[in-house]
């Protein structure tokens, strides 16, 4: 049968079977889960070729699925990260309750994302988009905490975005008569101006909610921190990229084709920049690792959105490269937090610290991911940031460069806070029993981290599929004038040759490490963190010297005016206002029978008076 349909059936069938297998045997359930995620992924890459399509006809609408290069690029994130997260999840969720629900929703999320990437018509796109929304919603409320405030807030925002998209879809249908994306792209340049503006605005609203762009990002911190960490790596790594996927398509195929597109691009680019700054500032403030990473995700997505909105080739390459890198390192970081949570029971920096010697592999993965997040060479994040800055400068967005750069510098603060808070700092006695996380959790983390190393030195490996994807959307080939396998260039002829840099860095690093080891390390003994220089007063064993409260107090004193306003408060007030309005509506039904009778009579009278105008 058609491989596309095979993949969907395997996913769906696997999900249902896994849900019910829990009654029989837990091990069987875990194995079925892994099979349901890995087998379709394997089929995807081996059986499915570019251009192969499948259709399914319902209700007069033909659902159309096929794979193009752009979808293939994002499938790397979805299926790659999904597979790693699935392996991680089996170990993370051991012993937890309601496993069946978790596995079911996990598989459905992966399936719906794959479906989105394969969809060539808008209805199928929307169907999978909604399935993705409600399966991730069920994960957000999985632990049963704060289901009403966080879960429903997430769903409402997602629904607003999705319904905006639905409105655009039916608008498109009324103009072109078909639901195919191809037809939309072809008909777009000749539509009237009102439509040309509204359709992208509505579509972008839908995508911006998922990509957590300001001011539609308020669901993200709660939703990311409330879901189980094994799922959050997929949630933040892959689901948000679906928004990016949609935005890229809208920008490249629609907005860039009309002259008014420049307004869209500027506004969205600045929104991305502001998102980056505000997200970073709030991330620095957090004491809970989950919230910190959640805000950090919002900020990183800001970079990606800026890159895509700018619209030059280099900017698009930068945005998409950063998207893939973000999936890698954010997915790994959430796995790290999950590992710490599983081993210690808490994710709050003020409660746990000093885990580096107890969880070395977790630390290694975290270290590499943080370095990639910060954008420091020789890891992959640097390549993306470099291309982003170059694209901003070469396309004359001078102030935006400063904004993004500020956000990037401030990001160092929360990067350090993350590493210091969990792994460095004082080692307290209450955590001396902590062991390294199980292998099934550590291996995916380490694999993903090492991947960042590779991509940092040979970005061409990733830039090649990105290039193909962009060409599939209609862009010109950028090979050799913007990148080669290990060289990144900008339009002005400046470039960075990455491979020798990596070798030099490793060489120097090893040289000095060897120097220090030979001369310093061998005859030294390890001492605990209580044995520190403290002006003669020797700290006792149970004295608490951990520094984690108010970690960046001077910085916050400096940026205090910016942090006073919260968008969340605005939404809360809006919600309360609406509830008051609804209360008023409710009171129309007074409960008094005579009042209802009066309503009827009043209705008749009004209609009789104005009937001629109303009914003719």
């Amino acid at each position: 049968m058609n491989p596309v349909l095979n993949i969907f059936i395997l996913f769906l069938g696997g999900a249902i079977l896994t849900y019910f297998a829990g009654r029989i045997n837990k091990v069987l359930q875990s194995l079925l889960f892994l099979a349901s995620v890995l087998v379709p992924a394997f089929l995807f890459y081996t059986q499915l070729s570019i251009g192969q399509s499948a259709t399914f006809s319902v209700d007069g609408i033909t659902l159309n699925w096929s794979l193009n290069y752009f979808g293939w690029l994002f499938s790397l994130i979805v299926l790659g990260l999904g597979a790693m997260a699935a392996i991680y999840a089996v170990s993370y969720m051991k012993g937890k309750q309601r496993l069946g629900t978790f596995y079911f929703n996990f598989i459905l999320s992966i399936m719906s994302m794959t479906g989105i990437l394969l969809s060539q018509d808008l209805i199928s796109f929307f169907i999978f988009w909604e399935i993705m929304t409600w399966s991730s919603y069920l994960m957000t409320i999985y632990n049963g905490n704060k289901v009403q405030s966080i879960g429903i807030k997430y769903f409402v925002f997602s629904a607003i975005g999705a319904y905006a998209m639905l409105m655009a879809i039916v608008m498109v249908h009324s103009i072109t008569g078909s639901f195919l994306i191809k037809d939309l792209i072809n008909a777009y340049p000749t539509m009237q101006l009102g439509m040309q503006i509204w359709i992208p605005v509505l579509l972008l609203t839908g995508f911006a909610v998922k990509a957590a762009m300001m001011p539609l990002h308020v669901w993200a911190p709660g939703a990311y921190s409330n879901s189980p960490m094994a799922y959050t790596s997929v949630f933040s790594g892959a689901l948000s990229k679906m928004g990016v996927y949609g935005m890229t398509i809208v920008f490249v195929t629609l907005i860039n084709k009309i002259p008014q597109g420049i307004w869209f691009r500027e506004v969205i680019a600045w929104m991305g920049g502001i998102t980056a700054v505000i997200g970073t500032l709030w991330a620095i403030k957090q004491d809970d690792a989950k919230k910190l990473l959640a805000y950090s995700s919002v900020a990183q997505l800001g970079y990606i959105i800026t890159g895509i909105a700018i619209g030059t080739e280099l900017a698009l390459l930068a945005g998409l490269f950063l998207a893939v890198m973000h999936a890698l390192f954010k997915g790994t970081l959430f796995m790290v937090v999950g590992a710490v949570e599983k081993q210690t029971g808490t994710t709050n920096f003020t409660e746990v610290s000093g885990l580096i010697r107890k969880m070395p592999w977790t630390f290694f993965a975290a270290l590499l991911s943080i370095i990639a997040l910060a954008g420091i060479p020789p890891l992959g994040g640097f390549v993306g940031k470099w291309m982003l800055y170059e694209s901003l400068i070469t396309s004359n967005h001078y102030l935006l460069v400063i904004v993004i750069f500020f956000s990037s510098t401030a990001a160092f603060l929360y990067c350090y806070k993350f590493l210091f808070g969990f792994f460095l700092g004082q080692e307290e006695k209450e955590w001396s029993h902590v062991k390294e996380a199980p292998a099934a959790m550590v291996v995916p983390m380490v694999i993903l981290s090492l991947l960042m190393f590779v991509l940092g030195t040979f970005p061409g490996i990733l830039l090649s599929p990105i290039n193909n994807g962009l060409q599939a959307l209609g862009y010109t080939d950028s090979y050799k004038n913007l990148w080669e396998t290990s060289v990144i260039l900008n339009g002005w002829g400046n470039h960075v040759v990455l491979q020798p840099i990596l070798y030099y860095i490793i060489a120097i690093f090893l040289f000095f490490v060897v120097f220090l080891t030979l001369k310093g390390y061998k005859n030294t003994r390890y001492v605990t963190t209580k044995d520190i220089s403290s002006s003669g007063e020797i700290p006792k064993e149970d004295e608490n010297l951990t520094f984690s409260e108010n970690f960046y107090q001077p910085f916050f004193r400096a940026v205090e005016p910016v942090m006073r306003r919260q968008i969340d408060k605005f939404y809360k007030n809006l919600g309360e206002g609406l509830e008051a309005l609804f209360e008023f509506m409710r009171r129309i039904y007074t409960g008094n029978g005579q009042t209802y009778a009066i309503y009827v009579i009043a209705f008749v009278v009004i209609m009789l008076l104005f009937g001629n105008y109303l009914l003719k």
């Binding site: 510098t409 210091f420 002005w492 000095f512 080891t517 310093g520 520190i532 520094f547 107090q553 001077p554």
Partner: protein, 304 residues
């Protein structure tokens, strides 16, 4: 093969030059400070003596592997920055790797070191180190803004992000960028005050308050490596400024003269000011220096 060997020899020679010059400048700083404060002060080669003393000491204890890596990270950062900044133009004895990277790469590799050292300091568990690191990182968000504004202004004005190209522009037009992009120069110099972490921005390693902050747990060889890295880094920054704003240098003497003149700015300024608190320092950097940076960008946009 021969060229690789040649390159490596050149790199080592550059490193030694940077080391020596950096140390001497550090010593001169101490001498000048002392003279201004009406005392004799240590000899200008004092830093070498200190370095040798530190190198000959052995540490008895260590706090773990990150502390061990910390100095190595900062050395990597210093040396890679050195590789990217052209030291002497048109000189065969000091080949540079500048064709491998550009300003943005330099910006990021310069940050790599302090972060690595911060990680190393973190593992010691000393709260003073942690406080020092947080102050240092916060301060960085301060001075990076005018610094990046100045660099962006230069990049816009001359359509390049490569240091070599900016030097060539100066050679071709005959005027230093200090004069053709004055606001950028002013903003960059103000940022430099923060980079050197001399007074008034020395809160990061405030000796009396934080026991020198991030470096408080390091002694012996670790401190030696850090000190050397610091000196090399100082040299790199000065050379970078000379290359960008003062036309580069053809031979060693001119280079030394220009870098020393530039170095006098933070040294003398530090003698006349008191220490700012971190939030004041950050706010100061976002004030006048950023204003000049903004002027620099405006000038670059409108007076291309």
């Amino acid at each position: 093969m021969e060229s690789v060997l040649y390159n490596i020899l050149g790199a080592v020679a550059t490193f030694l030059l940077a080391f020596v010059v950096g140390m001497i400048y550090g010593g001169l700083n101490r001498k000048i400070t002392a003279r201004v404060q009406n005392r004799k002060g240590p000899p200008f080669y004092q830093n070498f003596i200190d370095a040798m003393k530190l190198a000959s000491k052995r540490s008895a204890i260590h706090h773990g592997i990150m502390q061990h890596f910390g100095p190595a990270f900062i050395m990597v950062s210093s040396v890679m920055s050195l590789m990217v900044v052209p030291v002497l133009t048109h000189n065969q004895w000091f080949p540079n790797l500048n064709f491998h990277g550009d300003l943005i790469f330099l910006l990021y590799i310069m940050v790599f070191g302090p972060l690595g050292m911060a990680l190393g300091a973190g593992q010691t568990g000393n709260p003073n180190s942690a406080i020092g690191v947080t102050r240092g990182l916060s301060l960085m968000t301060g001075f990076e803004i005018p610094w990046v504004m100045a660099l962006v202004a230069l990049m816009i004005q001359y359509h390049t992000t490569s240091i070599v190209d900016l030097m060539n522009v100066q050679i071709q037009s005959g005027t230093w960028l200090m004069f053709s992009s004055p606001f950028a120069f002013i903003a960059a110099v103000m940022a430099m005050l923060g980079m050197f972490r001399y007074s008034p921005f020395d809160i990061v390693g405030a000796p009396a308050e934080l026991a020198s902050g991030p470096i408080s747990e390091n002694g012996g060889k670790y401190l030696f490596v850090m000190m050397s890295a610091g000196s090399v880094f100082a040299f790199v920054k000065l050379t970078l400024y000379v290359d960008l704003f003062m036309g580069g240098a053809d031979n060693l003497v001119i280079l030394l003269v220009k870098t020393f003149v530039l170095y006098l700015i933070p040294v003398l300024y530090s003698l006349t000011t008191v220490r700012y608190r971190t939030e004041h320092a950050i706010r100061w950097f976002w004030g006048w220096p950023s204003f000049f940076g903004l002027l620099a960008i405006l000038q670059a946009v409108f007076f291309k």
